[in-house]
Amino acid sequence: MSKDKDDRAVDPHTGTKTTGHDWDGITELDTPLPRWWLWTFYATIVWGLLYTVAYPAWPMLSGATSGLLGYSSRGALEQDIARQKAAQAGIEAEIVKAGFGEIAADANLASYAYAGGAAVFRANCSQCHGAGAAGSKGYPNLRDDDWLWGGTPEDIYLTIAHGIRWEADYDTRWSEMPAFGDDGILEETEIALVADHVLSLSGKSGRSEAGATLYLDNCSGCHGEAGEGMAEMGAPALNDAIWLYGSDRASLIETITHSRFGVMPSWNTRLSEADLRKVAHYVHSLGGGVRE
């Protein structure tokens, strides 16, 4: 009998050698792995090592090895942004060149301007005007149909580009309502009469002759005799349902006494021409924009 050094027991059912491990009579078959499996395993190890050479991987004292391919996630992002910007260059140029009417009429330009404008709005405008552009006290609601400085796309564009009462911009829109109480123009009782008259313009209070006279003398120059307002001066209409600082009597008295001085920055130094036009188109499309 030849000397068989492989003295592992053989499983009678399969003819396979066993490992010798035995659990309550159940033995473990010692089936060898397929060799191709081993090669595949080695190949994955080699692949893994090459990967760590090609890509950033090994931690060093400061940072990590940068990898032969020079890949970085930040670099990939920058390339991606550059590629997107290059792809958008054509349509951005069209946005700058086209009139607002042409942008609105061209479905492709309009959807691009709307989506781009929405992104610009979220990043730059929503802090004051709200994510939904509904505004809040002192910050106009951009969805309604009342516009202090005009609601055509060109008006909105001018407001965004140069701001309101923004001293650093020579072309900014400017007006200033006198502080009738602080500057001693009107007495407290007179201010109260004016406030009552303003309330009467939208039917919230009765009319008084004294109030009407005071209003005509002091306010109608900008706000109009019937309180219809004047967009050229940024003077709000007083006969409608929209009130930037509140429509109750106390708020009106506060406004007349101390005046308001709402400020909006000019954006032409921070946003590109195309971005300005996109966000103007977006704001105009929110539902309240006035047709040209």
Partner: protein, 478 residues
């Protein structure tokens, strides 16, 4: 004293050289091979007219536009449950076939089986049958061996490329993609897909072969769990064949009838087996029930003048009957049993339900999202306006005019406006979903209480189909 050498932890693949065989199951396998390959290669080239706005490819998975076309059926992403239904049907179908016919999928229809079969045929065509292949394998690399191997691998590679190439045609218009592919204008993903599928077909079909079934594929183990005592499996009838022994030309009466079975130990069944198993050892994982050993054994039995079927399809229950000398039940008695009826019923029920819903489904749709920020806007004339995002769905193959309308639950009046459109009718392009912004506005200075329920309707002016969506109007009072 030296320790015994450690046994090897790894084993090289035992090369298998299956011998060519002919017979009834081989003919069936050829037929199925030709049919399945024909379906695979020809399907993307079938045309199906769907009008001017839709692709005319009969079977198309349009990933970019998110549509699946199958002859007269078109599936949108929101109807993906049809695909889930098909997968469930495939699963139950597998239960059904396995409980009746055992591993019939493995033996006849599995792509691995079909392509390996094709590759083996090429191999025999170039290198000759089993014995010549074995000789060539052990030969040194003579010019003849190099020539034969090169020829074989070249044909394999061509088949592999055709396999990978056909796959991509299911995902784009086949004729134009074929032209783009040749002229180098096809998208890089097409080339990458073809390259990967060429490589996997070449390696899996040419070299790994039965290793795929033994080590990679989960089916054999799942299917084994679905077999029962009535499932057909390829069985060596040892009660007839044993004790096996060399055939004797002039047998003495004793040896012929008393001590020797029908098996003459000729190894024909082993030599033809594509997975290299010996079926005489009984049911085993390696057996894919391709039935080629039945053909091989029948051939030998015919030459010996013995009845066919020493190796045959047989269920475990029949095996017990035959072993005890009783006749086997008829095949129908094996097939017609509660389990099969249950699977068939489930399978047909799901299929029928899908067909019914498919032909009753709406081709119009409407979803409405009320603006959340702000909920409402006060306009200068004192009216209240609510904004809505409306998606109109047109599943027709032609552009359709849709008219929007609304009904307010309760008193009051609302005006409906579509942004960027004068009237209430919009044209929705063929086979698309269109996003609209719609406003409902109350009358000036008329206060409405809190939320008022509103139902928005859309009607296809051509087909008169209607759909509605319930939403609310915020009246503005706090």
């Amino acid at each position: 004293m030296s320790a015994p050498p450690a046994p090897s932890l790894y084993a090289a693949r035992e090369p298998i050289f299956p011998k060519a065989v002919s017979g009834r199951f081989r003919r069936l396998k050829w037929a199925i091979l030709v049919a399945t390959l024909a379906v695979y290669y020809i399907t993307p080239w079938l045309r199906w007219d769907r009008g001017p706005y839709l692709p005319d490819q009969a079977v198309l998975i349009d990933l970019a536009a998110r549509r699946f076309y199958f002859f007269m059926i078109e599936i949108w992403p929101h109807e993906f449950y049809y695909v889930a239904g098909l997968l469930i049907m495939a699963g139950i179908g597998l239960f059904l076939f396995t409980s009746v016919l055992g591993r019939v999928w493995c033996g006849y229809a599995c792509p691995q089986t079909v392509w390996v079969d094709l590759f083996m045929h090429v191999e025999r065509f170039i290198e000759g049958d089993r014995n010549k292949q074995i000789r060539l394998q052990h030969q040194s690399w003579t010019p003849e061996k190099i020539r034969k191997r090169t020829a074989k691998w070249t044909i394999w590679l061509a088949i592999s490329m055709a396999t990978g190439g056909a796959w991509i045609f299911y995902f784009a218009d086949a004729p134009s993609l074929a032209w783009q592919f040749i002229t180098g204008a096809a998208p890089s993903v097409a080339y990458a897909t073809v390259a990967i599928l060429t490589a996997t077909t070449f390696i899996l079909g040419g070299f790994l072969r039965e290793q795929v079934c033994l080590y990679m594929c989960p089916w054999p183990r799942i299917q084994a769990a679905m077999l029962d005592e009535n499932s057909l499996t390829v069985t060596y009838k040892d009660w007839r064949g044993e004790p096996r022994g060399k055939h004797k030309k002039q047998p003495t009466p004793q040896t012929q009838t008393q001590t020797q079975g029908d098996c003459i130990d000729c190894n024909a069944c082993v030599n033809v087996c594509p997975t290299g198993v010996d079926i005489r050892k009984g049911q085993q994982l390696g057996c894919i029930t391709c039935a080629l050993c039945i053909d091989a054994c029948d051939d030998i039995m015919a030459r010996l003048g013995r009845p066919r079927g020493l190796i045959d399809y047989c269920s475990l229950a029949d095996e017990h009957l035959e072993r005890s000398g009783q006749p086997a039940l008829s095949a129908w008695r094996r097939i017609l049993r509660p389990r099969v009826f249950l699977y068939t019923g489930l399978w047909a029920g799901i299929g029928l339900a899908m067909v019914v819903t498919l032909f009753l489904r709406d081709t119009i749709g409407l979803t409405v999202r009320h603006d959340r920020n702000p909920l409402f806007v006060t306009l200068s004339d004192g009216s209240i306006r609510n904004g809505y995002e409306i998606r109109l769905l047109n599943q027709e193959g032609m552009p359709q005019d849709f008219r929007l309308s609304h009904r307010l639950e309760g008193a009051g009046h609302l005006r409906l406006d579509i942004q960027g459109s004068e009237g209430r009718t919009v044209e929705v392009a063929a086979n698309t979903q269109q996003l609209l912004r719609v406003f409902l506005t109350s009358e000036p200075w008329i206060e409405m209480d809190g939320q008022v329920p509103v139902r928005l309707w859309v009607e296809n002016l051509t087909t008169r189909e209607r759909a509605h969506y319930d939403t609310v109007f915020y009246g503005g009072s706090e």
